[in-house]
Each structure stands twice: as structure tokens, then as C-alpha cells.
């Protein structure tokens, strides 16, 4: 009957030694883990509560199933191979220990025998091979392919650590197979076929004499043991700590809407000045980051050469967290203001991260301090001052807000004076920008054709504050919100519609009077989708344009609205062709987070230009459709510089619908 030759050929001293080393390993591992987690106590409370079921599910799909990691095929296969392989090998060793030292000693039976043992051997051999293949893929990727996102990690010794860990893992797996192979070569059990890899290795040692083979076996066994235990014990101190940290980080990841930022403190500086101003969850983020660089790959600021890399930010903060206070200042030395201001808050980094770090809330919290400290460029200061004084970033009078309505024949209802069904909140750009006023008028016409009972706030509307908040000016956001809510509470309406995704985001999630009280906040794309599909809005013409649609960050990635705008486009009779980076992977235009108000800085290639080129690379695209007024401005500008040739036009969704009326 097949059974496991536990400790076969292993001298007694080695057997005892193994248990001693194991005990030591557990102690060191636990102590190291304790040290790592203790650092987090320096952070502020994070207010994680409830949603236990969702968190467990997340743990299952992301920590165990690693769905995000698997988004990319090569690294996905590579990591899953290593993960399942090593997990299996570890589990196997654990089972063997239980079999030998627990059930045998205390309960008088062993389970690793017979059929169970054969299956055990087979699974381990195959999964061990998966680990080996995964590790080989990893080595090839890191040292031959050399993807950009793995280069130049801003942490001393990182490259060395990467190499050593990889080597150690390879050594452990290979030595393990060698031990098995040698054993099989000497013992030649009948069930050797159930260990295919071990069996193959055994063939290589067929010619070796037994004493030599036995000696080699012990030697490799000891080496394997030492390597494995060292690897385990050192885990809290190497990048492998993510094995423990990642599941924890995933479990405690925010379950609030993606928009949610860290609640600002009311006393003193609402931002992060020193490390301990971060929440413990943010500190955990830094410690969990495995510097895979996926965030950097997605970041539009990085791509345009603005000096921000979300990966570098996390790595540097982790380094700062662990360094023995050598007097380096968080602001200015570890992190530079330019890095923080380069972010357009598009959230691609947060979405890409396989271990669920939230780079964005960290950036905004750091920005909050820069604002208090006055470390902003002149243009941003001016925009914020204008928002404070006039309620719009253009520095124009409040009374000019509704000027765009003047050419319209039928006066739009004043929602402040009479009840309306739909309250249309325009946003600054749609109201003040002369070029966009035209789109606003077309929107009004569409609403009127659909027989919609709608009204606007005229000159009582103020900027919704989304970007002021993301620029770190929490107080300004609160002030704008107060003003808007004071007006909104006096109005009677059943729902809110807006043409601006940034406004949409703020109204939907950050305005208490609108959140969850039965009055939905919609983006105009959602409303048009509804009006068209319900037949209230009839489209008379069929446009035959070939259209590509750019998902705005605050509509798509932040709020998951992907289908509605596309349905609207198709309803106008246009054919839709997708850019490579579409849907949740859409590439930001670079205007968010207050960037549109800032000094551009030195850019290699503007994100908006890169996007236009992406669209032009598609065959025969005539229209680049957008659903955000800022996108319209950014891409029309980009078209002038990146795409002379007049074949492609940038149009708003509303313009297409209007043309199809």
C-alpha cells in the first residue's frame, strides 16, 4: 500500500533540528508580523465598519481568486502559478506534519496513505511544477523582457531584494524536487508514476551509487529545509509580506462609493503633514504595495512625463514608514509638491491595484496640507480664489451664469421659483464657456422636444465643488456645497440631471440633501437613454457616423455608467467602434482634480493628445464623442495640435442627439 516515507534517510539530529528551526521560524515570523502591524497604530482611525459579507466575498475573489491580478494574462498566469504552487507545497508540508506528528502520535492513524496519498503526491508534483513555471516566467519577465513598470524602483536595495526572493523561491522548489527525485531514485516505489516530476528527476540519478545518493539526499534536504524556513521567517521583512498584508488590505478596502475620500479633520490642518496624520489603513496601503507598477502603467500623469508615479509614491511612503526617523521631511523630501499636483484624480491607479491600495486618497490628503501651506502655483490659487469669491473658476460674475439662455425663445423655468420635475444643474463650463453655451442650448432644446418639465437655478447655481475638493481645498468645497444646498432645499424637484460628470459625482455622493432620499441624480446620458428608450424623445434622422466614445473618468470609472451613453450613440444611428483603452480602462484627458486650473508644466505628450491619436489610429473614425464639457474643450484643443487633417471631429453626445432630432 502506498505510504509516505516521512523523514526517510534523515538522521535524528536533522529531524530534531527541523522542529527547532520550525519553532524559531514561527516565533520570528509572528514577531516580525507583529512589528509590521504595530507600525499602523501610529495612524488615525479609518472608520471601517460593517459590510462583512461584501468584504468576505472580496477576500475570496481577490485575495484567493486574484481576479485583478489575472486581468493581464502573462503576469496573471505567472503569479497564479507561483501562488497556487507555493500554497500547495506549503499545505502539503503542513499536511505531512499533521499526518506524522499529530494524527499518528495522538490518534494512532495516518491519512497520507493509499489512494489519498497518491492523489496528494500527484497534486503536489503538478502544482509544484506550476510554481516552477511561474517562477521561470517571473525571472524571464524581470530580467529579459524588463517591462518599464518594474524599472527604477525608488527604494534602496529593492532590486537586490527582488533578485534574492526570486532565487530563494526557485531554490526551495528545485531543491524540493531534487530531494523527491533522489528519494525515488533510491527507493524506487511502485507508485513513483504518481510523482511525475520527481520520477523524471530520479531517472537522472539512476546511475548514482546509493551511498552517494543518500548523502546528497540528506544534504539537499537540509539545504531545502533551511532555505524554506529562512524564507518563511524573513517574510515579514521582505516583499513577501504581501502574502499576509494583501488579504488584510483587501478585507479592509473601502466599500463606500469610489468617490469617497478620507473625512477631513475639523481642527487644525485637515491634511497630512507627517506620517501619523495618515489613517492606519493608508499606512497599511504603503506596507502592502508590492511595487508591481500596474498603477504607473495606467497613470496619465506618468505617461505625459509629469513626474508623478503612483507606484513610486507608494514605495517612497513605505520606505518613509519603515526608516528609522532620520529626519527626512514627508513634504519636500520624500514627496515633492509637483508630484502631488500632477494627479488628475482619474482613479485608474486605484482600479488597477491588485492588492487594493488607495493611492488617490493619499494624494488628496497630502494635497490638503499643501493647500493649507499655500504651496500651489499661481493659476490654481487664482482659480480657487475665484471659486470662493464668484462661485466659478472663471472669475466671472454670478449674474453672467445664465447668459447662455438669452438666445433661447421659450424661457427655461426658474427652479427657484416654481416646482419642476427635473432640476438641471449645469456646472461652470457649460454655463460660462462661450463655445460650450451652444451645447447647453442644444440640450435645452432636446429637453423641450422630449416634453421634459425641467428648470435651472439661473444665477444661484455655484460650482458643485468636486474638483475643489479633489484639489485639496476641503473648506472651499464645504462652502460651495453650503451655498448650493441652501438653494436646493428651497426647490421642489423629483430628480436632478447634469451635463457634467464632475458635478454628477459630487451631487450624487457628497450632497447630503440629495443622497438616498428618493431623488435620483442623473447624468444627461442616462436621462437621454431613458427618454429615447421610453419613446418620449423621438429621433427622426439616422446619422451614419462612425463614432468612438471616450468614457469620462467621473462617469465611467467612478460611477460605472458605460452602457447608457453607448446606447444613446447607437440610437442616433451611428456605429460605435471602441478604442483599445475604453470602458473602465479609458485614458483620462488630464483635466480633472483641478489640473485644468493649473500650470501645465513641462509635458512630454499631453494625455488628451495621446487619446486623440489613439482614436485616429482606428479605421475611419469620424466622430470622437464625449459626454463631459471639459472633455469637449480638452479634446478640441488636442485635435488642433495632434490631429490636423480635418477628418475627425470632436462632438458631445448631446450634439449627436440634437442632430438626429
Amino acid at each position: 500500500m502506498p505510504f509516505r516515507e516521512t523523514f526517510w534517510n534523515i538522521p535524528h539530529w536533522a529531524e530534531i533540528g527541523q522542529y527547532v528551526v520550525a519553532a524559531l521560524t514561527i516565533v520570528v515570523f509572528l514577531y516580525g508580523t507583529f512589528l509590521r502591524f504595530r507600525r499602523l497604530r501610529a495612524g488615525r482611525p479609518a472608520g471601517r465598519k460593517g459590510r462583512f459579507g461584501a468584504r468576505l466575498w472580496s477576500l475570496l475573489t481577490q485575495a484567493v481568486g486574484q481576479f485583478r491580478t489575472a486581468q493581464e494574462p502573462y503576469p496573471g498566469i505567472m503569479h497564479l502559478g507561483i501562488f497556487w504552487g507555493m500554497l500547495a507545497l506549503l499545505a502539503g508540508t503542513a499536511l505531512a506534519t499533521v499526518d506524522w506528528d499529530v494524527t499518528r502520535l495522538f490518534f494512532g492513524f495516518q491519512f497520507l496513505e493509499g489512494g489519498a496519498y497518491l492523489v496528494f503526491e500527484l497534486i503536489l508534483d503538478v502544482l509544484g511544477l506550476a510554481a516552477l513555471v511561474g517562477l521561470a516566467l517571473a525571472a524571464y519577465r524581470r530580467y529579459v523582457i524588463k517591462p518599464v513598470r518594474l524599472q527604477d524602483i525608488p527604494l534602496p536595495g529593492a532590486a537586490g531584494e527582488d533578485a534574492i526572493v526570486l532565487l530563494a523561491l526557485l531554490f526551495v522548489v528545485i531543491s524540493g524536487y531534487l530531494v523527491e527525485g533522489l528519494r525515488i531514485a533510491i527507493l524506487r516505489p511502485d507508485w513513483a508514476n504518481w510523482s511525475p516530476v520527481g520520477n523524471a528527476i530520479a531517472a537522472a540519478f539512476a546511475s548514482m551509487g546509493e551511498p552517494a545518493a543518500r548523502g546528497l539526499h540528506v544534504g539537499v534536504w537540509v539545504a531545502h529545509g533551511l532555505a524554506a524556513f529562512t524564507l518563511l521567517a524573513s517574510m515579514p521583512f521582505t516583499k513577501l509580506f504581501h502574502i499576509v498584508a494583501a488579504p488584510v488590505n483587501i478585507f479592509f478596502a473601502p466599500t463606500d462609493p469610489p468617490a469617497t475620500l478620507t473625512p477631513a479633520r475639523t481642527e487644525g490642518d485637515p491634511g497630512v503633514k507627517v506620517l501619523k496624520d495618515f489613517t492606519w489603513k493608508q499606512l497599511l496601503d504603503f506596507g502592502t504595495c508590492i511595487r508591481c507598477g500596474r498603477c504607473q502603467d495606467q497613470c496619465p500623469a506618468y505617461a505625459s512625463g509629469l513626474g508623478l508615479s503612483p507606484r513610486d509614491l507608494m514605495v517612497k511612503l513605505a520606505g518613509h514608514l519603515w526608516e528609522k526617523s532620520n529626519g527626512r521631511a514627508l513634504h519636500g523630501q520624500v514627496v515633492k509638491p509637483e508630484e502631488l499636483w500632477a494627479c488628475s484624480t482619474c482613479r485608474a491607479c486605484v482600479q488597477a491595484c491588485p492588492v487594493f491600495t488607495d493611492q488617490l486618497s493619499t494624494i488628496v490628503d497630502l494635497r490638503r496640507h499643501l493647500v493649507i501651506d499655500g504651496q500651489m502655483d499661481g493659476r490654481l490659487q487664482e482659480a480657487l480664489a475665484n471659486l470662493g469669491r464668484y462661485g466659478n473658476s472663471f472669475g466671472q460674475s454670478e449674474r453672467a451664469r445664465a447668459k447662455w439662455t438669452q438666445p433661447i425663445q421659450t424661457k427655461i423655468k426658474d427652479a427657484r421659483r416654481e416646482p419642476v420635475e427635473v432640476l438641471w444643474f449645469l456646472g461652470d463650463y457649460a454655463s460660462y464657456n462661450a463655445a460650450l453655451s451652444d451645447v447647453s442650448r442644444k440640450t435645452a432644446e432636446i429637453f423641450q422636444r422630449a416634453g421634459l418639465d425641467f428648470g435651472i437655478l439661473y444665477d444661484s447655481e455655484r460650482n458643485a465643488g468636486n474638483d475643489a475638493r479633489r484639489a485639496g481645498e476641503e473648506g472651499l468645497f464645504e462652502m460651495l456645497r453650503e451655498k448650493n444646498e441652501a438653494v436646493l432645499t428651497k426647490c421642489t424637484f423629483k430628480s436632478v440631471v447634469t451635463t457634467d460628470p464632475h458635478t454628477y459625482n459630487a451631487l450624487k455622493h457628497e450632497y447630503p440633501s440629495l443622497v438616498g432620499n428618493g431623488r435620483p441624480v442623473m447624468h444627461v446620458a442616462e436621462l437621454m437613454d431613458d427618454l429615447i428608450s421610453s419613446g418620449r424623445l423621438k429621433l427622426g434622422k439616422r446619422l451614419n457616423y462612425r463614432v468612438t466614445y471616450h468614457d469620462p473618468c467621473y462617469l465611467g470609472r467612478y460611477n460605472g455608467v458605460y452602457r447608457a451613453p453607448r446606447r444613446v450613440i447607437e440610437a442616433t444611428g451611428c456605429s460605435l467602434v471602441e478604442m483599445p483603452r475604453h470602458g473602465a480602462r479609458a485614458f483620462c484627458c488630464g483635466a480633472g482634480g483641478g489640473r485644468i486650473w493649473m500650470d501645465e508644466g513641462t509635458v512630454k505628450e499631453r494625455p488628451s493628445e495621446s487619446r486623440i491619436r489613439e482614436a485616429m489610429a482606428l479605421d475611419g473614425v469620424q466622430v470622437f464623442a464625449v459626454a463631459c464639457p471639459k472633455d469637449l474643450t480638452m479634446y478640441q484643443d488636442a485635435l488642433k495640435t495632434a490631429g490636423p487633417g480635418g477628418r475627425m471631429a470632436v462632438r458631445d453626445l448631446i450634439e449627436l442627439v440634437h442632430e438626429a432630432l
Partner: protein, 321 residues
Amino acid sequence: MSQDVYVAIEHVQGQVADISYVMLRAARELATRAGGGVVAILMGHQASGLAEAMAADRVIYFDHPALKEFTPEAYQRVLAGLIHDDSPRALLLGNTTIGSDVASVLSARLGIPLVSSCRTVSPDGKLVVQTCGGKIMAEVELAATTTLVTVIPGGYSPEEGKGAKAPEVVTRQAPALEGLRVRLSKYIEPEAGDVDISKESVLVAVGRGIQQEGNLELAEELAKALGGTVCASRPVVDQGWLPVSRLVGKSGKRVNPKLYLALGISGAPEHVEALTDSETIIAVNTDPAAPIFSVAKYGSTVDLFELVPVLTERIRGAKTS
């Protein structure tokens, strides 16, 4: 009280400032109505020759080492004594770094009225003053007693204040000028710029509307096509996108080109006052209410980012054909 109108001449480093001639022209309006003459008040040291080109009936010249270059207290003392002695109909000073430092002090010290930012004299002899960045004008009558007036450029051209015949110079004794609380240590020359925009005949000016430093290229291209130079209003220079030597304005240079093309410039008074001598001013600004359109001959509200590249192409085309 005499019916003569006095003008406090401004000069720096041996050069008479253009505002002095503008004031002489304005003074002529007032003097004619009052039935008196225009008297230039020149304070300096060995500087009587500066009065050569002035369109004045006579010059009162005060010579003193302490008056070689302007300091506020020296000018205040001389002019206070002069007004006390002569009681002229009015004393005109520039609304400038020189005149403004002196005028209000004289008003408070002597208890006489002051009207500031006068641009022209109306047909019925009232002072026409500019306020609120040029958006509002007002008419003020001279007081019955000596009135102080500060004058801004733009209402009259300096040429109108120059005369072919050098006026008679009468030297008077300067009062004691010791113990001045404000003293000149030295002048600091501006960094020698690559170009002297005050000598250029084609200028392409950029203002806040250019938005980003990277967009200056558009203006450079246009200037090159026209054979001119790029200059700027204060916001652009404050940002450091162009050196101070390119600044057109009250604190910058006065220019007199054949063509002044203002891109994205709103037309603040401090800027506009320095380009009123331009032959043709063309303004591009998306805001049709921008004050620049009050001084420009032609204008367009097309977005400069759309217009400039097209215009540059057309000009290149016109030059080659």
C-alpha cells in the same frame, strides 16, 4: 491768484518723460479758458536745457544739487513754496511714480483740492477723469482756488505738447532742501533685454488669455511671420514667461509701433496707457466687453487659439505671393 496753469515737469536720468508734454497740452486747454499762460516748472540741477522742446509760455527753473534726480520731499518743498507764493490757477502733475508721490501731499499740506486721473479737458473746460479701470468717466469742475490735477496719458499725444520755439527760462531760488527724509541711493538699471520693444514697429502682445507658457509659441510664430516682436502685459511677465524688458505698461515700456496686435489682453489702464501712441491697434479677445476694444481700431472675438494659426498661415502666404 494768477490765471496761469503750472505743469510740474518730470524727468529721469536726463530724459524728459512723455507725460510732461501731455500735461503741457492739457494745460494749454485750461490756460486758454482761464485767460492765462502755460508755465512749465522744471526742478533739476544744471538741467535748464531740458526745457528746449516744451510748448510752454515760460519756464520756472529751480536749480539745486538735491533736485538732480527726483525725490518726493524735495519736489514737495519746492512746489509747496511755489504755490504759496504764486497761487496759480492750477498745478498739473503726472499720475505717475513721480507726480502721485507729490500731489496728495501738497493737497493735504496746503489744504487745496486735488483731482486725480485726468485724461482730457472737456469742451466746456471741465476735467474729464477716468476711474474704475476706464469703465467709468467723470467730469469735475476746477475749484475757484488753486486746484491740483494729476494727469494720465492717452488723452493727448506728447507731440502736441512740444513747441518749435524754446520757451523763456526764469531761474528761481530753491528753498532749503536739507534734512530730507526720503533719499535716492541709486538707480538699478533693468537687465539689458534682447530687444528694445519701444523701437519695434510691429508688436504682437500677449496677455492672460494666452493661458499657458507653452502657448507663447503661437505668438512667436505670428510675430516672426510679421517681422515683429512679442511683448506682454503684466500677468505674463509676473509669471516669468517673458522678461521684464518685454513688459508694455505703466511699469514697463511705452511703445509706438505701426501695428500693435493684442492677443488675449483685457486692456487694463496700466497697460493701455503705454500703447496709445501705436498707429494701428488690433485686439483679439473672446470677451466683447473687454476695455481693450475701446482703444483698438479693429477687433475680433474669435478665440485666439483658433485665429492665430490661421492668420499666421495667411500672412506667410501673403508674403510669398
